[in-house]
C-alpha cells in the first residue's frame, strides 16, 4: 500500500460513521446472544469466545468493542471456506483444526462456526463465532497439556466441514462429536448457542441490506476497512523507519530445559510494518507451537493492534487495522509449525512473540509501548477425589496473571493484565463452593513489580490449602520462571515466577514449574506470578511516591533503599539521606540500561549471541523436521551441560561463558560441515 487507503473511500463519511455503529451493534448483539446461552464456564466467567461479521473474502469488518476475546480481530475464515466446494444458503461450517483452517483455530478446544450469508445468490458476508470448549477429548481433561508433542494427543480434530447443510443439521457429525468429548452435553449446548448467535448476525445483515441496498452494504464494508487502514497507517508512522531487532525467550519447551528464542525484526517504512520472525527457534516437541500458516496472523500482530488502538481510540475495529502489516514466519519454526506439531499452549508463546515485537518497537523508539507485563496466563486447576465415591472433580482454581508493565507516564497495574485475553478471575467463594480445598491467600506480591521512574505492576501470590489427600494441582502456561519481564529505559525487570510448597514452614521447597503436583492433606501450594517491567530510572521516582508504595505494601523498605535510594524514617522520607543515597548509587553505577533483562538472560545472551543463533537456526532448518529437535537438544546439552543437570540459576548452569561460547562455535562448525554439499549427513542421521 503506497498511498493512504482513505483516499479510496467511496461512500459519504457521515454515512460510513453511521454504518460503523450499526456493524458494531450487530457483532455485539451476536456476542450477547452467545454469551447468555453458552454452557461452558470459559464463556461466561472468562469471556473466552468471539463473534464477528466477515467480508466475503473472510476477514472481519464488524467486531464487538467490549464483549469476548479482543485478540482475534484479524482472524481469517477464508481458508476454511475454500475447503468447502459447494457452499449454499443455510450452510454452517465447523472447524477446530489449526492446520486445515490455516490458523483460524489456534488450538483444538476453540470451536469455530461460520455461516455464509447469501443475498440473491451471492455471498455478501459471513457470520462467525467461536468458543473455548470445556473439552474436546485427547490425553487430559480439558484437552490441553504442555507435554503433548502432536495434535493427535490434543483431541478430536475437525477439519472445515458442514455442521449444517442447507439448514439441515448434520446429525451424524453431532453423534461422532459427542462421543469424542468428555463433556458432550455442555458442548452441544454451546453449539446451540453459537448457532443462535450466527442466526442473529444473518438476520441483521439482511435487515441492513433491506434498508440500504446491497451495493451500499458491500461498499460500506470496504470503505470502513480502508478507513481503519488509513488510521492505522497514520499511527504506525510514529515508528521510526529502519530495521529494529529484538528477541525474547520462553524458559524452555517443557519437554526439554532448552530455552526457546523468539526473534522479531521490525522493518518500518513510512507507516508500513514488516515483521520478520526468521531466526526464531524451530518448532518444538511440546504444545507451545503457534499455528499461523506463515501468514499475517492474530498472534503475530497483537501488540501492533494495541499500539494503534491506544494511540487512536476511534479506529474502527476491523481487519483494515492490519492492512499495513506484512509478515514472514518461516515454515518449521515455532511461529509456523508443520503438522502435526502440538499447539495447545500456543498462548504462552504468543505472549513472548508479542513481547519481542514490543521490544523491537522500543528499540525503534523508547516509550512507544509499555514495558512487558508479567507475561503469564496460568489457569491453575485442582483435581479432587471424593474419598467415599472415588468420583473425581476438576475445577479451575484461579486464572493467574502478573501485573502490567510500566509505561512512560504511568505505573503498571498491580495484579491484573489486559495484554493477552483480559479474562475475569474466579471468585474465591465460587471456587470453594466446588471444592474442599481452601484458598488461603490471593494477594499482590510485594517487590515483584520492576523498579523504575514508573513502577511495573506487581504479580500475585495465590495459595491453596489441600484438604483431601491425593488432590492434584495442575498448572500450565507457567513461564517467566527463568527469564524475567524486562525493564525499559533504565527501569528494572519484574520478579520471576515461583511455585512453592508449604511456604514459611520448615518443609518449604520450590516446586519449580508445575505440571501436576499430587499433594497431601494439609499441604499449601503457592503460585507467585511475575511482576511487570519498570520504565525509566528508579532514582527519578519521587521519594514520596516510593514512600506511599512502602506504606501501602507494594514495595518493601529494603527495596525502597536498594532500588530507589529512598531512606525512610518511620513512614516519612528522610530527604537529606535520600539525596545522599541516590547520589551514591548514581556515582557507583555504569549508566542506565536501555533494556534490563536481569542476570539470567544477560548470561545466556553472552553465550548465545544473535549472530551465532541466526546461523545455528539457519543450519538446523536445513535438517529434516524429524531430527531437528533432537540435534538441537544434543548441541545445547554439550554447550551447557548444567542445563539438563538442573543447575539453577541459569548463570550457574552456564558456568564459564567463554568456554561455553567455544563449545557452541565448535558445534556450529561441525553442523555446517555436516550440511556442506556432498556430505549427505542429513540422510545418514535420518
Amino acid at each position: 500500500m503506497t498511498q493512504d487507503a482513505a483516499s479510496g473511500i467511496v461512500l459519504d463519511p457521515v454515512d460510513l460513521e453511521i454504518f460503523f455503529h450499526k456493524f458494531t451493534a450487530v457483532a455485539e448483539e451476536m456476542a450477547i446472544t452467545l454469551q447468555r446461552a453458552a454452557r461452558t464456564t470459559y464463556v461466561k466467567e472468562a469471556g473466552d469466545f468471539g463473534t464477528a461479521l466477515a467480508s466475503p473474502g473472510g476477514r472481519f469488518f464488524a467486531y464487538p468493542r467490549v464483549l469476548g476475546v479482543s485478540g482475534f480481530l484479524d482472524s481469517d475464515v477464508g481458508p476454511s471456506l475454500e475447503a468447502i466446494p459447494d457452499l449454499e444458503p443455510g450452510d454452517v461450517i465447523i472447524t477446530n483444526h489449526p492446520y486445515a483452517s490455516v490458523g483460524l483455530s489456534t488450538h483444538m478446544p476453540d470451536l469455530h462456526l461460520i455461516r455464509p450469508i447469501f443475498h440473491e445468490g451471492r455471498i455478501v458476508a459471513h457470520a462467525w463465532d467461536f468458543i473455548h470448549s470445556a473439552d474436546v477429548g485427547g490425553g487430559v481433561p480439558s484437552s490441553i497439556s504442555p507435554r503433548f508433542s502432536d495434535l493427535f494427543q490434543e483431541g478430536f480434530q475437525i477439519p472445515p466441514m458442514k455442521l449444517m447443510k442447507a439448514g439441515v443439521m448434520n446429525a451424524d457429525f453431532l453423534t461422532l462429536y459427542r462421543s469424542n468429548c468428555r463433556t458432550p452435553d455442555v458442548n452441544l449446548g454451546d453449539i446451540n448457542a453459537m448457532l443462535a448467535a450466527l442466526a442473529i448476525g444473518e438476520r441483521r445483515v439482511h435487515e441492513l441490506i433491506a434498508a440500504h441496498g446491497v451495493e451500499t452494504f458491500m461498499q460500506a464494508q470496504r470503505d470502513l476497512v480502508a478507513y481503519a487502514a488509513a488510521k492505522a497507517r497514520q499511527v504506525q508512522r510514529r515508528i521510526p523507519d529502519g530495521d529494529h531487532v529484538f528477541w525474547d525467550y520462553l524458559d524452555d519447551d517443557y519437554n526439554s530445559p532448552v530455552p526457546v528464542r523468539l526473534r522479531c525484526c521490525l522493518k518500518a517504512r513510512d507507516g508500513h510494518v514488516h515483521l520478520d520472525f526468521t531466526g526464531s527457534d524451530p518448532q518444538v516437541e511440546a504444545a507451545y507451537n503457534v499455528p499461523t500458516g506463515g501468514r499475517r496472523h492474530v498472534w503475530l500482530t497483537l501488540k501492533l493492534m494495541h499500539f494503534v488502538y491506544s494511540t487512536d481510540r476511534t479506529v474502527p475495529l476491523n481487519y483494515g487495522l492490519f492492512e499495513n502489516i506484512t509478515v514472514e514466519a518461516p515454515s518449521g519454526t515455532i511461529v509456523n509449525p508443520e503438522p502435526p506439531a502440538a499447539v495447545g499452549v500456543r498462548a504462552a508463546t504468543a505472549i513472548r512473540i508479542n513481547e519481542a515485537l514490543v521490544g523491537a518497537m522500543s528499540v525503534a523508539k523508547p516509550g512507544l509501548m509499555p514495558a512487558p507485563s508479567g507475561g503469564v496466563m496460568i489457569p491453575s486447576v485442582l483435581v479432587e477425589q471424593d474419598p467415599a465415591t472415588g468420583a473425581r472433580s476438576v475445577m479451575v482454581l484461579q486464572s493467574l496473571v502478573g501485573g502490567t508493565g510500566a509505561r512512560e507516564g504511568g505505573d503498571g497495574v498491580d495484579g491484573r493484565d489486559s495484554s493477552l485475553a483480559n479474562q475475569r478471575n474466579t471468585p474465591i467463594e465460587k471456587t470453594e463452593e466446588e471444592s474442599a480445598a481452601v484458598i488461603v491467600d490471593y494477594a499482590l506480591r510485594p517487590d515483584s513489580g520492576g523498579a523504575g521512574r514508573w513502577r511495573g505492576g506487581t504479580g500475585v501470590v495465590f495459595s491453596v490449602r489441600i484438604v483431601r489427600d491425593g488432590s492434584a494441582v495442575l498448572g500450565r502456561g507457567m513461564e517467566r520462571f527463568v527469564f524475567r519481564p524486562w525493564g525499559m529505559a533504565g527501569g528494572k525487570p519484574g520478579a520471576n515466577a515461583r511455585v512453592v510448597l508449604n511456604a514459611g514452614t520448615p518443609q518449604e521447597r520450590d516446586l519449580g514449574k508445575l505440571d501436576m503436583f499430587v499433594a497431601r492433606a494439609g499441604d499449601v501450594v503457592t503460585i507467585m506470578t511475575p511482576g511487570g517491567g519498570g520504565f525509566g530510572d528508579p532514582l527519578e521516582r519521587p521519594a514520596d511516591v516510593v514512600r506511599d508504595d512502602v506504606v501501602s505494601g507494594y514495595v518493601s523498605r529494603e527495596s525502597a533503599l536498594a532500588d530507589y535510594g529512598v531512606v525512610l524514617d518511620g513512614d516519612a522520607v528522610d530527604e537529606a539521606a535520600t539525596r545522599a543515597r541516590r547520589d551514591a548509587i548514581r556515582r557507583g553505577r555504569p549508566g542506565l540500561k536501555r533494556f534490563d533483562y536481569g542476570p539470567e538472560r544477560e548470561a545466556w545472551d553472552t553465550v548465545f549471541d544473535d549472530a551465532s543463533m541466526l546461523e545455528f537456526n539457519a543450519l538446523l532448518m536445513r535438517l529434516p523436521t524429524s531430527v531437528r529437535s533432537r540435534r538441537r537438544r544434543e548441541i545445547f546439552d554439550r554447550v551447557v551441560p548444567g542445563l539438563s543437570a538442573g543447575v539453577r540459576p541459569l548463570q550457574d548452569a552456564i558456568g564459564d561463558p567463554d568456554a561455553a561460547r567455544a563449545r557452541l562455535k565448535d558445534d556450529i562448525e561441525a553442523l555446517r560441515r555436516a550440511l556442506a554439499p556432498g556430505e549427505g549427513e542429513t540422510r545418514r542421521t535420518s
Binding site: 451493534a25 448483539e29 461466561k44 452435553d185 488510521k231 467463594e429 463452593e433 499482590l444 506504606v551
Partner: protein
C-alpha cells in the same frame, strides 16, 4: 381543620432542584424549579418547599409526604469524595479490591488505567476470621486481634468501615461479631457488614456493596439529618421518604442505614413516572428516553413495570443489587462534535456539559455541541431556551459549525449540524435496537417516552432511525424524576444465596432436600421483609411480595431470574417456568433435567395511596408563527406552538414545534401530535399501522 392532602416530589440536579407538588384530591400537578445549592443541597429543598407552598397559598402542614431523590451519594462515589474508608477482611483476602475481577476496562488500550480505588491499600486490614463454603466456621474471631485493628483504625482517623469475611453470605454472624467489637471501640464510626447488607456469593461484588455503602454512609447520614431539620423548619410535619434504585422509596431511617439502596434512584424514578404515564395512556410497552446535557439514558419496559438488572455499574464499580435497568446510550446536548484526520465526523464522547456548555451558551465553549446543532437547524429558538431564562447565541453556533462543515467538505454549517444529528441518532438507535433485540422485542410495538431537557427535542429523530412509531411526551418532561418520586411505592429487595437442586416430582428424588432448603430460605426472607415493611410508616397500605430465583441447568454458566409462578411457590411449576423461559430466550431447553437454584430473591412492595394525574384542560393550540427547520437538506416550515395550548384532544400535524419552559418538542413532517386526557402528547407516525 384541613387534612394534609399534598405530596411533594423533589429531585436534586446539578443546576436545578426540581419539585412537583401533587394534590391528592386530583387537583393538579405543580412544577417548580429552584436553583441548586451545591454546597448544601438541602437549602434548595427548604427554599423550594417554601416557595411552592407559598405560591399555592397552602400551609406547610398540608403536606402529608415529601419524597426526595438525591445524587449526592452517586457523585461522591464518582468523584471519590466519600468517607475515609477502611476495610476489614479475612486473612489472605487483603487485595480483594485491588485485584477485583481481574479484567481491566479496556482490552485494547494499553494506557487505560484501572479504576481509582475506593479504599487505600494501607487501610485494608486482615483478621483471622472466616467461614467455609458450607457455612461452618473455619477460623473464629480473635477478639484481641479485632480490638487491635480497632485501635489502629482509631489512630488512622477513619470514619467508615466495611467488614467482608469470606463466605459470610452463608451466615453474617462472624461479620456481626467483628463489627460489634469495632463499634464498641470506635464510637461514631459507621460500620457495614457485607453479609447483612447483601448476602450474595462472590466476595468482590459483595465487598463492593458493603464498601460503597460505608463509603457514602457518613455523608448521607449527615445530609439526611440536615434535610430532616430543614424540612421540619419549613413547617412540614409529614414524613420524608427517599427514592431507591429499585424504583421504590424507603423511609428515612432505612435510607440512613442503607444509603447504597439510593445511589441510582434518579434514573429509576424517571422510569417509574414513565410507567405510570404509560398506564394512563394505555401503553405497557415503553422505551424511556431521558436526554439531558451530558448523557442519554434508556430503559425498556415490556409489561407495564420497570425492569431490573443485577449487572449495573455505580461509577466504575459493578453493583449486583437489583436496580431499574437504565443504560447510557451516548450523546447528550453537551456532546462535542469533532472531525478526525480522515474526515469522519464524531459526536462525543467528550461533553461540554453545562459549563462551559455548547458554543451558543457563550460561557467559553469553543467546540460545537449537539445543542448547537438543534439551534442551527432551527429546532430550538435561541430566545426561548429554558422558557427564555437563557439566551442562546445562534451566530456563534453557526460560526463554530462552519469550521466542522469545511473539514467535512459540506456546503455550510447547517449541513454539518444535520450530519451530526444523524450520527448522534444512529449511535443511539443502534443501542436501542440492540437492547430491544436482547429482550426479543419488536421496535414497532414500543412507544418512546421522552423527557429530560433534550429528550422531546431528539425523540422523533431517534424514533425514525430506530423504527419506532410512537413517542410520548409528558406534561412536565423537565421534572419527570421528581414526578416519579411522588408516584413511587415503598419497596425493598432481599437476597440470599442458596445453591440447591430442585426438580419436578419424579425427575430427581434427592431434590426434596434441595427444595426444603430453598423453601426455608424464602421463608426467612419473607419474615425479614414483613418485619421491615411493618415499621415503614403509617402511609404504607397493603403490601405485596414478589419471589424469584436465579436458576440454571447444572454446569451452566448463566443464570436466569425466574419469578415464582405461584404463591406459595412449588418446585414443579417453578422448574417448568424456567424451562419455558430458557426455551424462549435460547431456543432450547431440557425439561427432563433438574434445575439448580443459586440465589433466591424477594421484593416487598408497600402500596402508597396513588397520586392521580390531573385531567387536561380544553385549551386549543394556536400557532404563534412558523420557523424554518432543516432536515435532509430541505427547509421545513414548522408551525410553532406553546405547550399550554395542548388541552385534551388537541392535535396538530408535523412539521411543528411545541415549546414549553423545560423543553422543546420537535414533530417532523409525517408525524401527528395529539394530547390525551391528562395532557400527554402522543406523537405517531402517519400512514403506518
Amino acid at each position: 381543620m384541613t387534612t394534609a392532602r399534598y405530596r411533594i416530589g423533589i429531585d436534586v440536579g446539578g443546576t436545578f432542584t426540581d419539585f412537583i407538588l401533587a394534590d391528592m384530591t386530583g387537583g393538579g400537578l405543580v412544577l417548580h424549579k429552584e436553583p441548586s445549592v451545591p454546597g448544601d443541597p438541602s437549602l434548595a429543598v427548604e427554599r423550594g418547599i417554601a416557595a411552592l407552598v407559598d405560591s399555592r397559598g397552602l400551609a406547610p402542614r398540608d403536606v402529608e409526604l415529601v419524597v426526595h431523590g438525591t445524587t449526592i451519594g452517586l457523585n461522591a462515589i464518582i468523584q471519590r469524595r466519600g468517607a475515609k474508608l477502611a476495610l476489614v477482611v479475612s486473612r489472605g483476602n487483603r487485595d480483594v479490591m485491588e485485584i477485583a475481577r481481574l479484567r481491566l476496562p479496556s482490552s485494547y488500550d494499553v494506557a487505560a488505567p484501572r479504576e481509582a480505588p475506593l479504599v487505600r491499600r494501607d487501610l485494608v486490614f486482615e483478621v483471622g476470621a472466616r467461614l467455609r463454603s458450607d457455612g461452618t466456621v473455619l477460623e473464629p474471631v480473635d477478639p484481641a486481634e479485632v480490638d487491635g485493628v480497632a485501635d489502629e483504625l482509631a489512630r488512622r482517623g477513619v470514619d467508615a468501615v466495611a467488614v467482608m469475611l469470606l463466605n459470610s453470605y452463608r451466615d453474617p454472624a462472624l461479620e456481626i461479631e467483628v463489627a460489634e467489637r469495632l463499634r464498641a471501640r470506635l464510637p461514631g464510626v459507621l460500620v457495614t457488614e457485607s453479609g447483612v447488607v447483601w448476602p450474595e456469593v462472590r466476595e468482590y461484588e459483595r465487598c463492593l456493596v458493603a464498601g460503597l455503602n460505608a463509603y457514602i454512609h457518613p455523608l448521607m447520614t449527615s445530609y439526611f439529618d440536615r434535610l430532616q431539620r430543614r424540612v421540619g423548619e419549613a413547617g412540614v410535619k409529614g414524613p420524608i421518604y427517599i427514592t431507591a434504585n429499585n424504583g421504590g422509596t424507603l423511609g428515612l431511617d432505612t435510607a440512613r442505614e442503607r444509603p447504597i439502596d439510593t445511589v441510582l434512584s434518579g434514573p429509576a424514578s424517571g422510569v417509574v413516572a414513565s410507567v405510570r404515564m404509560g398506564e394512563a395512556a394505555g401503553r405497557t410497552r415503553l422505551i424511556t428516553f431521558d436526554m439531558g446535557g451530558t448523557s442519554a439514558d434508556i430503559s425498556i419496559v415490556r409489561a407495564g413495570a420497570p425492569e431490573f438488572t443485577t449487572t449495573t455499574f455505580v461509577g466504575d464499580f459493578p453493583l449486583i443489587m437489583p436496580v431499574v435497568n437504565v443504560g447510557a446510550i451516548g450523546a447528550g446536548g453537551g456532546s462535542i462534535l469533532w472531525v478526525d484526520d480522515q474526515g469522519f465526523l464524531k459526536v462525543g464522547p467528550l461533553s461540554a456539559g453545562a459549563d462551559p456548555g455548547p458554543v451558543s451558551y457563550r460561557r467559553g465553549g469553543t467546540q460545537p455541541a449537539v445543542t448547537d446543532c438543534y439551534l442551527a437547524t432551527g429546532i430550538i429558538d435561541p430566545d426561548r431556551f429554558l422558557g427564555g431564562r437563557m439566551r442562546l447565541d445562534r451566530e456563534a453556533a453557526l460560526a463554530a459549525l462552519a469550521e466542522i462543515a469545511q473539514r467535512l467538505g459540506l456546503p455550510g454549517p447547517v449541513d454539518a449540524a444535520e450530519a451530526a444529528l444523524r450520527v448522534a441518532s444512529a449511535k443511539m438507535a443502534s443501542e436501542v435496537i440492540k437492547l430491544l433485540a436482547t429482550a426479543g422485542a419488536d421496535p414497532r410495538d414500543f412507544a418512546l417516552v421522552a423527557y429530560g431537557g433534550a429528550g422531546p427535542t431528539h425523540a422523533v429523530l431517534l424514533a425514525e432511525e430506530a423504527g419506532l412509531e410512537a413517542v410520548l411526551v409528558p406534561t412536565t418532561p423537565g421534572a419527570f424524576c421528581a414526578l416519579g418520586a411522588v408516584l413511587a411505592d415503598v419497596r425493598r429487595d432481599y437476597v440470599q444465596t442458596a445453591r440447591h437442586l430442585i426438580a419436578a416430582p419424579g425427575v430427581l428424588p434427592a431434590s426434596r432436600d434441595g427444595w426444603a432448603a430453598v423453601d426455608e430460605a424464602i421463608a426467612r426472607l419473607r419474615r425479614d421483609a414483613l418485619a421491615w415493611i411493618a415499621k415503614e410508616g403509617a402511609l404504607v397500605g397493603a403490601h405485596s411480595i414478589a419471589v424469584s430465583a436465579n436458576m440454571r441447568y447444572t454446569g451452566q454458566a448463566y443464570e436466569l431470574d425466574i419469578p415464582a409462578p405461584s404463591d406459595p411457590p412449588d418446585p414443579a411449576s417453578w422448574c417448568e417456568a424456567f424451562h419455558a423461559e430458557h426455551h424462549r430466550l435460547y431456543g432450547f431447553s431440557d425439561p427432563s433435567a433438574p434445575v439448580q437454584v443459586t440465589t433466591v430473591r424477594l421484593g416487598v412492595i408497600g402500596k402508597v395511596p396513588p397520586v392521580q394525574f390531573p385531567p387536561a384542560d380544553d385549551a386549543k393550540p394556536v400557532a404563534r408563527g412558523t420557523r424554518t427547520v432543516w432536515r435532509n437538506g430541505k427547509a421545513l416550515e414548522a408551525a410553532v406552538y406553546d405547550r399550554a395550548g395542548f388541552g385534551r384532544g388537541a392535535a396538530v400535524q408535523g412539521p411543528a414545534i411545541i415549546e414549553q419552559a423545560d423543553t422543546t418538542t420537535l414533530v417532523l413532517d409525517g408525524w401527528r401530535c395529539e394530547a390525551d386526557a391528562i395532557g400527554t402528547l402522543h406523537l405517531t407516525r402517519e400512514g403506518r399501522r
